[in-house]
Structures are given as C-alpha cells and as structure tokens.
Symmetry: D2
Subunit: 427 residues, 4 copies
C-alpha cells in the first residue's frame, strides 16, 4: 500500500482536505515512518523531530517497549474500545497511575476519563469547578492555550482562535500571566481585582493555568508566582486548576510540572503524552472532596481507548526511578546553554532564551518576530522539525522527545544554528 | 499481566476512579477480551454485545482484517501520531474516502479532521456555520445528543447533562423533533417561528440534527420531515448540519443515514465507527463553498491518529459493493420483527418498537418507563449487553455490530425475551 | 416662547435629532397643546387621539383633576425629586394604592419602585425571579414586547429590535402565545417542553407575558389559556410574571388586565398610565414571600418622581367605584361593533377584529399587511392619530383614552372609516 | 392631604414597600417640602442637602425660574407626554441645547432621547457602539457605575449589584481605572491587553467611563489618563463613550466633565440634571457619522417627558455666560480646603480628600472604612443630608446643588465637622 503514494500526494491534502489544515503547510511533505526522535518522509529523507507531536510524544515515536505491549494486546484480542466499562487494561492503568505517580508524591486524586483530548479534560475541569462552587467565572491568563471546544476556547487567549468561535466567549476573565508586564506586578493586579468588591470581577469558580505556556510562547511562571496564585485561591476559596496537558508527563523535568513549586492544585488536566504512544487519551485528576459528579454527568464515546491504557501503563515505567528525571535535566542543561549561545550570537535579533526543562524557546525580539518562522522553515529544509509559538509566532519552540539522546539533540541544534546563520546572514 | 486482575478489580474503579463513571455501573464486571459481537470478562463469562461501543464498533470488536492492517502498520513503525501533518496513512484514507464513499454518491465535500471525538466534529461544524453566516443561533431539536463539550452540549437536550455545564448554554434554540407532539405539527412549528419576524427566534446560522436520535430514545425522523427541514434551510439560507456520528457509517443501512431521504446537508459530522476499530477519530465534511476556515483556526493534538486512518481506510472496503448494505437490511428486518413480537407479547408495558436499520429500540410506555432499566439489567446477568436510552431511560436500545451474524443476533434476542419474561412476570 | 416655532420646526428634528426617532415620522407635525382626547398642532389643526401615548394616557391628556393636584404640589414646593427617600407624596401613593387597588381585590403584594419606565419594572421582575429560584431561563412568548434595555429586550420578540442589541440575547426561550398556530395547541407545546427532561429547555425561573399583546399585534389571550399557564407555573414551581404595563391600569376594562381570568401572578409589572398624567413612573408588585431583595440591590435615580405620585394617587380615584369600569365596557362594545362592521365592509382586506376592552385592533390579512400603515397615514391627514402594531405593522391599533366620550369615539371612528374607504377604493 | 401623614408614615414604607428600598433607611424620615439646598420633613425639621438627588438636582430643589416655566406650561395645557412625537417643547429644547451647549463648544452631535433614565442612555450607547463596529465587547472600568438594567449593569463594577442580575453578565471586560494601583500603570495594562493578540481580550466595540466616578468612590481621572484612553481608542478604532450622567451638567465645573481634558468622545450619556428640575430625562449624544440607527430601533414610552424639556431648556440659561462656571469653581475651592482641613484634623482616619469641582469626597482609610457611614448618620441627625460611596461605603460624598450659596455650604460643612468630632472622639 505504502508504495502507491508519492510526493504528489501533497495534492491529496489540497484536493480533499479542508483549508483548516495547518502543519501540513509548515512541514510540506508526506511522512511515512518514525522511530524515537526521527521521522522519514516518502522520499526517504530523514528529519530530527524537535516537535514530538506538540508534546504528545514525550517518549519518542513508536517507543519500543510500548509497541510490544500494544502489539501483544491487539494480537490477543484485548478489548480495544470499551466506553467507560471496566476492563483489565483500564484497571491496570489506574493501579499503575496510583502506585507510580500519585502515592510516591503523596497526592490523592480521583481519576476521571473525560474523553481522549486535552480539550475534554479542560472542559470537564471547568464543569466540575463550576458545580462545586456554584459560581460562573473562570480566571484564565493572557496567552493561555487550553483547546478548541467552546469551553476550552473561552479560557484561551489567542484572538484569531477565539474569533473562530463565531459567538462571544463568556464567563471568563483574562488576567496577566507571570511577568506579563515585564515586572512582578501581575500577581498584584489579580489580587486587587479579587479583593475589591467593586472591581467588576466577581468571585470566580476557578483559576486555570499552565505552569509553562506552550502555544503562548514558552512562558515559564516562577515558582513564587505559582505559590502566590495558590495562596489567593485558598484565601478566596477558589479552585486551582493546573492544565498540565503539555507541560506535564515529564516535559519540564518532573512528572507534574508543578512539583518543584510545591503546590497542590485542586484539579489537574493531563493528556498528550499520558498514553505514551501518541494515542488519544486524557485524564482529569480531582481532589476527592470535589468529585461530586453524578454518574454520567459528563460522558463520551472514546473514554475507553484501551491501547492507550496499555501504552500509558507501560510509559509509567519511566517514572519508577529518578533516572529518567535526571536525564531530562541533563539534556535540559545542554539545550539551555546552546539556546543562550544562539541568542548571544545573534544580538541583532534581540532574542531571549526562555522556558523550563525540555520545554524551551528562543523568542525573537520586537520588530524581528518574523525571523522565527523563517528560521523554522529553513531548518525544515535541512531536516529538522521545529514549530513556532507565541501571539506573533515569534518564538522558536523546542518540544523534542524526553528520550532523545544527546547526539540527536546536538545534531538537531547544529541544524538550528545553521538555519539561524543562513536566515540572519541573508537579511 | 492480565492474570493479576481478578473480579475484585471492580474495587479499583471505586477506589481510584471518579464518581462520574457510568457504564461500569450498568455492566458491573471487568472485561478482558472481545471479538466480533462477543465479549468475555475476566472470569471467562461470555456476553453477546448489542451495544457495540455505543455505535463505535459497527464492524465488531477487533475486526480481523483491520487488525492485520493495524498490526502491520505498527510493526513497520508507520507514523502513529502526526498532528495534522501529511502522512501516507492520512493521504490514503482521504483517497479511499473520496473513492469509495463520496464519488459514488455524487457528493462533494472537503474533509476536516477536527479532533478525534464526536464533540470535536460538532464543535467545528457549529463554528464554521457561524463563520459562514455571521449569525449566532443554532437550531437543535428536542432530545438531541451532540456531545459534552460546551458547544456540543449547548445543542444537546438532556437537562441533567445541560445542568452539568454549570453555566447557561446560549445561542441555541430547541425545536420539536419529528413527531414530538405525536402528530405532524413539528415542522409547522419551526416554519412559523422562522417566518414570523416577531417570534423571538432570529434567523439562525444552522440547523443541526440526527436523522435517528440515539441517546434521545431511538427516534427516527421521517424522510418527508427531513426534506421539509432541508427546504426550510434553503428558503432561509440556513446551513443544514447532519450529525451522523451515531446514525452514520452504515448504522441505518446506508453509509450516510440521510441517503434514502435524498437530501444533501451542508455539513456532516462523522465519528464513532469511522475508524472501524473503535479508535478515536472524527471527520467534518463541509461543502467546498463553505470551507472558509483560516489555516489552524480550529486545531487539536489528536487530529492525526494514524492507526485510525489505517483501520478506517480498511473499513471502507465494506462499502465497495452493495452486499454489506443488503446484509444490514436483512438483519434489520429480523430485528424489527422480533421487537414487534416482544411489544405485542407484553401489552402491559404499552411499549412501541421504533427505529431504522440496525438502530432500533423498544420504548416502554407511560408509567412503565423503569422496566427498561430492569430488563437490561436482567439481560446482562444472562449474558447480553444492552443499554437504555431516552429522557426517562425508557427505551431498550439495539446498537449491535452491523457485522453480527444472524445466529448471534437471534441468540441475543432470545436472551432479551427471557429477560422480558422474568422481569415482567415478576412484577 | 411658543410663538417662535413654526411648521419649519420639523426641520429641527431632522437637523438635531438622531435617526432613531420614529413617531415624529408617522405623525409629521409639531404638537403644541392637548386636552382629554384631543391634540392640536402649532397650526391649530385638531386631532382626535386614538393612541394616547401608547397607553400612557389612559385618563386623557392633561386630566383636569390631576392637573390641579400637580399644580398645587409644585406651587407649595412639595418635593419634586426624592430618589427613594420617604416623602409625603410617596407614602400617600402607597396608602392609596393599597386601599383602592390591592385590598378590595384581596391581593397582597409588596410595591417596588424600580425606576420610571416599563423596561425598569421588567428588568427588576426578571432579576427577582432569578434570585428567588436560582435559575437562569425566562420563558417569554412570540410577539411579546417588554422593553428596550438588554434584559427586557431579551424577552421581546421583534427581530429588528432584538438585533439592535448588537449581542446575542440569552437565558430566554420564546414559546408560542395563545392561538399562535390558529388553534389551541400552544399550551400543549409549552407543557411538553416543560415535562420532557430531554427537551433542551430546562426548568425556567419565570414565565413572563402580556395578557393582551399590544406591540405584538393586539393579541388577546383567552382566560383559559392564562389559567393553564398559571397551573403549569404552580406545578413546576415557576414564577408567573404578568407585564401589565400596557394592558393594565384599566385598559382592558378592569384595573389589572388579568382580573377576569381569576389568576394571581407572582409578580406584576405596571407603568405607562400608573402615574395618570403621562409622567414617568413604574411599579413592580411582588408577592411578599418573594420580596427577598437586599436593600439597594436594584436602584436608580428616578424612583422618586413625586409629581407622578401625586397624579397617580389622584388617578386611583377613578377606581373607587365600579362606574369607570362600566363606562370602559360600554365604549369597548361600541368599538368592537364598529371594528367588526369595518372588517365586514372591506372583505377584500381579509381583516379580523381583535382585542379586549379598549385595547383593540383591526388586523389586515395575508398579503394586505401594508394597508394598515396606509390607512393610519390617511387617518392622520384627516385628523386622527392611530398607530399600527404587529410583526408586519399589519394591525391598526386603538389605544385611545379610557375617558374618551362617546361622541369623540364615534367621530374618530368615522374618520377611520373614511380613511378605509379612500385607501381601499384607491387601490 | 399632606396633613394626614405623620411620622408614623415611616411605617407605610415598611408595610407596603419592597425590601429593596434604600435611602429611606439611610435618611429615616418623611420629607415634605424642599427649596434650593434645603429640605424639610413633616415635623418641620430643616436639612441642608449635600446629596441633591444623587446629582439630579444640580440647580437645587424646585428652582424658581424653572418652576414658573413648568407651571405656565401645565396651566396652558402644553403637551405633557408625547412619546417621541414632535412638540414645541421638544423642538425648543433641541434648539437651545445646540445653541447654548454644543455650538459654543464646537461640538457636533446628534441628540437621541433614549428613555428617561441614566440606564437608558447607557443601554442605547452600548447598542449603537456594537452596531457601528460589529463587535461585542465593551471595556469598562473598576468601580464604574452605569445603571441597573442588564446592559448597564454589565459595565458596572459593584459585585453585590452585579450578582443581583441573577445571570452572568457578559460581553464586557473590566480594566483598572486611573490610579487603581496607586500608580500610573493602569493605562499600560490596558494598552498591553489591546496590543497583544494573545491577551484573551479581543478588539472591543467601545470603552465606557465616567471622568469622575461617583458611586465608585469619587475617583477623578487625570486629564492625561483620559487623553491616553482617547488615543488608544483612536489607534484601535474603538468608540469612546463618556458616561456624564453624574459628572456632567456642570458638576465638575464645566458643562461636560471632559471639557478641560480637551477630548471629544464619540458618544456622551447625559441624564440626572439635564432636566434641571429632577424630572426623568436622558440624552445620548452621538457623533453624526455613528448615528446609523434605524427608525425606532431603540424606543420607549417616556422619551417625551415635555415638562422635562421645558425645565431643561430653562436650565441651560445658567450656561449662557461664564458666571455660573466661575461660581462653581469658587465653591469647589472652599469645599476642597475644608475637606483637606478635616482630613488633616483626623489623622487617625488615614483619610484622603478627593474629587473635582463640586463632586468631592473624603475617603476613610484602610481599616477605618466604617467611619464614613457613622459620620453621615450622625450628620443626618444634625440636619445634613450626605451619602457614602465606594466599594466599602468608605467615602463621604458631596454632591450638593451647584447653586448652593456659600453660607449654606459652610453651614453644612460645619455640621459635617461636628459629626466627625462626635463620631471620632467617641470611638
């Protein structure tokens, strides 16, 4: 079968697929095969993948141990699709998640399967927060990204995507994210709006945030800021939701991105890499006292994607010792250093390096925003897959697999440097 | 691994999973294995499956030909997860879908991958309808079910689920579905509201409906009613959206449920069985003139579940000749006959048989609504999986695989009859 | 002063006033003086007034006894404006309203001064209904008119006016008014939507309606229908709001329009003629058990228009005996007869006579809608002020003063007949 | 008549009036008569009025020259109530307003009569701004007060009043008013939210603000801040609405409060003192290019309160020369000095003097908020009517008549000082 498709199959997408398609425009080829941090297109060209399914492939493409588990499961005719019925794979995943992730971190959450996408977990989190508190308003933050369904979109910052709703997005208030004004005032801003009964912002049901904003431009909140947010939530009895869809599952160096900030959110949203193999799956973790759902009050067909349970349970093996976390940190250091070097090598871009763990970016400065897209485009030509982020697409974003080896990492970074050189020199 | 879980693993769900879980309450066991129309739990008990993943398994569990294709694809390290990048599997699926489904039916639609769930396709349909028309309101119908995310929920009828939103659901108007008042007046009702500029219902962006309502209680709209709706849409320049998530993919006997009504909706929502193997996948089909999305205006991580493309392309083989459709019709006739017999055997239930194709139900009458749950519960004890539907859970619903063989079908129906007998006789 | 303005002053409105002006277009002259049911323009032309300030002048222009009371009050420097402070005039009005209106009718309501307009009383009614019930939705009816502020507009039917909001109007559901389909089905529709938990219409906070719709086209609900609505409200614990802004204050023959239907609404909205002299004033009557406002939770500057209290207290004198009500009935009979005669004289208009008491109209039939405006325009030329109503301006509406004498009434009707004759004969 | 009411008539309000009543609680007596800056209750006790109908009586109670005009008009049976028909009084008011106010200030606005209240003008302003721009969002400011109807409430800050809506208030965003954080940052915040396409705040239809916030606590915006807001509106093509309902009509020293800031808003809201005599009336001034209303797109019964036109035209006489404005300034200086003296005399209250023109307040400091209510209450006992403002009722507010003579002003301030002395010394 694979033989019948050639490079002309790009025409297939133009002919048959909606105008809404996006990444097949940024990365204009047809991919065929992938393993670890490498992808190959139908002409056999090899790419290093610094995008990793937008963070859904933290363990690399087609991770070998998970692959075996999935193949065995399929072979044995294990349940593929189960809605939210009880299955062995589901029970096993729940046990593993508790044993490997929650208990060792002294965390106590009920696990909800809200449907297979990040938007599903966000939608469920907003619903239960509103039910628990009886309040309407959700506070989200500037440049947040939480998803494309109406509820998730209402807490997302991007005005192009918001406009796509076609109706006004309500019951939410956008507050400045950490460092939004280039100083520490953002927490004071929020505090003032909450404490002042005349501010026009009533007591919210919940605050939702990403500890490191991905789509928003690789903005990493400081731990102090996160702690201050938690304090405000406690003072005013507001639920604290962490959307760890992209920053979680080890992306920043610990399983949950918020661990080093020593905070305990009331609700946690997980998706993307939770299944380990890029398979659709999401979890909503809810403090037991807030798990007041009625049976079936939120449901969905694809809450029982059992291959995802199988791979996801296996993926947790990475977290049984500290080794994996340490290896992430090591690579994060390399990445940081090299990003900082690039930044200092190209002062004309007024760029800054930013991020945390293996979620990092280079933000091109004021007036130089369009360099980011050009550099990523050039890098792609040279065999590197990287995407931009930020409201003006001004941030070159690294979201490579956590399992990438140092050689691949450095090789990718070499390509990136070349792309910088060619693009900047030519302008 | 599978050995370590025993029947006590029901405790796993109670201990670790959220209160929101539902089907693991209706079908209180732990399933282990499945094939075609059969499932087995960890104690080896066999069940005939008349539910088929709520319609996501129209081709049965772990369909053998798809299974082989998936295993080969995984084995070869084909791309698992690709966001919406170009892949061979995606191109191939698009080609197949056009060749096997659209072209032979003389249909011309652009294909959008809106994310992997039914709710995703509905959300995207509402967005593009609002963008195309510049209007806010969507008209949906009584007892509609379109999904749990905020936009999809706003066009869903069930008040318990709507309340779960925690905020008011707006920009939608519920109109009476065909036969809602037990007569033909529902189309007149809608017509009057549209033609009267003082009705309080402004010109809507779109009408969205299921041709056979599943969750709503197996209500099948007449073809005349569907044609009248289409006419109204044309007269007032309203987009016509068919949500074929459950009724599509052959469920009613043709690939699209609306084919025999000879209507051409502007937007079609597909999900559930489109992947063939129960894997999360959804499509939104949009008439080319309405495909005015900006690139990335709607996006999502799991738009490139390639195993689903592989299985989905294979599933389309069923539609290459008329044989499959004919076999559905044959079984539908059996089902209808036996349902009608049950209805007439138990006049005390004041029940009615309803539905179309292999989407059928027995609705217990006024005052007898609770029999439906009792009968399904009894059937489960006896090895048959069936669910209820309708606002009062008063409808026993058949959604078994389209590939079920007649023997299994009849065996399952025998169990159902026994369940009727025991439950009705004991009350 | 009055001398300096001449007929050219129509230019004043064109030059200085917003395009939004309306009645100065339908009645293109400059009025100078008025008394009872007569108005005079600056050229001395006399008009009989069958419009009476859209029902705000039920006791005629510049009613002599009220005029004296107001002049005395102003002369003595009685408080003009008092916010909602205690004043003698306010206390006196409250006492009078209780003694003359509420007690004799065995009604017990708390009186709220919600601001001086009909929209203010409607807005306050919706607020308190939502507060009492903790629910969002208000059920209103097709062709309802309740006002132009955002809350009042959200329960108004007219699509042109609704669109004027510039945003979507939410938390309301429009249901068919009595006889909307030309048969008795409308109550069944509402009943079905309420009883069915899958209808998409959740339990509302309140139902709001006019017993006779004025702007909507002089649609008079039957008493049976009103009683059925009340029963539904009681069954489902929904508050029942009567907007008696136009139909109240005697317009239909009794002080409250709903008296002959023997229903007891939970909240009543009054404005227009409550002040007697056309001065801005409104009341919201609330059953004591629902009067759970916090102090100042709803407020406004013009809640203490004391001249309106003075005139309003005097106006209540009309209701101390049955004489006034009887005289209304007598005139209503004349009006009805003559309207019916006109209808039968011009069968080509397929017109119908409709309404109740002195709130009556002639509705031109399908295809003949534009006759209504032409006839009113012709009548104006001949010295009669009448307006149209209905979604297509197809209804010629009588809202003349209740104090009109029979001679004036007949003279006005003679003019109307002539206008019919000229317009119909000329077409 | 007036004789029959005695001090027991306070019972009348308790017995018959809704719990929502407010000022009759703060000022617990029954007023009978008023003139200029004095009021008398039924026991003959005299009060100096520093509240002036919350700014609706800028020309004092029962202003003699307006009184004569009104009495003559009533006597001659001039039109009282005219909807929005043409009348001599209306034409005359329009001419006067243009001649005395707009032309000399080189301003060009169309005049809309939106209904008689401040909320009506705000609702109409929001509507037309949304219609002109085709956008939804309105930016309002912390501690704004614009009225109690749903649209006006949605741009009001007070959380108690907002909650009174019973539904969520949408399509608005609250931004920090000038000096909200005690520094100049608020304009930077707004700028940042507007310029960042990822901020979560889309391009708004309009900005609405009061140049001096009354209910919000006598917060006076600096002219620089107002100019910056205007610049932002011009840069982003946002309509700029000034709500001059309370701060206009000379309250701050010029007819429009924004004159000294040299800005030209697109829409201006006027009410309260525009009628001069405390009679309900409001205007919306709209730049001609934005006056795109359809006829009757916004309407209302009480748009033609002709007595208000008569008094309002006469009130404009105050603005024919500069004398009146100068006298306001003179008294404003006295007021400022004496407020500052009080503030320095009671350092324990950590109070500040604030405001502009004759719209001034003393804000009690952190932890001392409740002194304000106590002092006003004590002042009332001593014969002075003053209200508090601010989210914690912490501001003692002066809104006395602009026509107050210096002796009365000083006498009132003497009483206020005594009240401070007694309350502060006793605590």
């Amino acid at each position: 079968m694979l033989m019948t498709i050639d490079q002309n199959s790009m025409k297939t997408f133009e002919n048959y697929e909606s105008q809404v398609r996006s990444y097949s425009r940024s990365f204009p080829t047809v991919f065929n095969k992938a393993k670890g941090s490498k992808m190959w297109d139908i002409e056999g060209k090899e790419y290093i993948d610094f995008f990793a399914g937008a963070g859904a492939l933290n363990y690399g493409h087609n991770n070998e141990s998970m692959k075996q588990k999935i193949m065995d499961y399929i072979q044995e005719d294990g349940i593929s699709h189960s809605l939210d019925m009880g299955t062995v794979a589901r029970a096993n995943f729940l046990e593993r998640f508790n044993d490997v992730i929650l208990k060792p971190r002294n965390l106590d959450y009920k696990v909800m399967f809200p449907g297979p996408t990040g938007a599903n977990t966000v939608e469920s989190a907003l619903k239960i927060a509103r039910k628990v508190t009886g309040r309407d308003t959700i506070i989200s933050f500037t440049n947040a990204f939480h998803g494309m369904t109406l509820g998730a979109l209402s807490v997302t910052g991007d005005s192009f995507k918001r406009k796509g709703a076609g109706i006004s997005l309500n019951n939410t208030v956008a507050m400045p994210y950490d460092n939004y004004f280039g100083n520490n005032s953002s927490i004071e801003y929020l505090k003032r709006f909450l404490e002042d009964s005349g501010s026009g912002v009533g007591l919210p049901a919940a605050v939702i945030l990403e500890t490191v904003q991905g789509e928003g431009g690789i903005n990493a909140a400081s731990f102090e800021w996160l702690q201050e947010i938690e304090k405000l939530c406690r003072r005013y009895d507001i639920l604290f939701i962490i959307d760890d869809v992209q920053a979680g599952c080890g992306r920043t160096g610990t399983f949950f991105s918020f661990e080093p900030a020593r905070i305990k959110p009331d609700i946690i949203c997980l998706s993307k890499s939770i299944s380990g193999y890029g398979l659709p799956m999401a979890l909503t973790l809810i403090k037991p006292e807030y798990d007041i759902w009625g049976p079936g009050e939120h449901n969905g067909t694809f809450r029982g994607n059992n291959m995802a349970f199988i791979a996801g349970a296996e993926a947790l093996s990475y977290w049984e010792t500290d080794e994996f976390a340490e290896s992430i940190q090591e690579k994060a250091n390399i990445l940081q250093e090299r990003f900082e070097k690039i930044v200092s090598d190209y002062p004309e871009l007024k760029a800054t390096a930013r991020g945390r763990g293996l979620m990092r970016g280079i933000a091109c400065g004021k007036g130089k925003e369009d360099y980011a897209v050009k550099i990523c485009s050039k890098a792609f030509e040279k065999g590197l897959i990287m995407e931009t982020a930020g409201p003006d697409d001004q941030v070159i974003k690294f979201l490579g697999a956590l399992t990438i080896d140092k050689e691949e990492l450095n090789k990718g970074l070499d390509i990136l440097e070349e792309a910088f050189k060619e693009v900047v020199r030519n302008n």
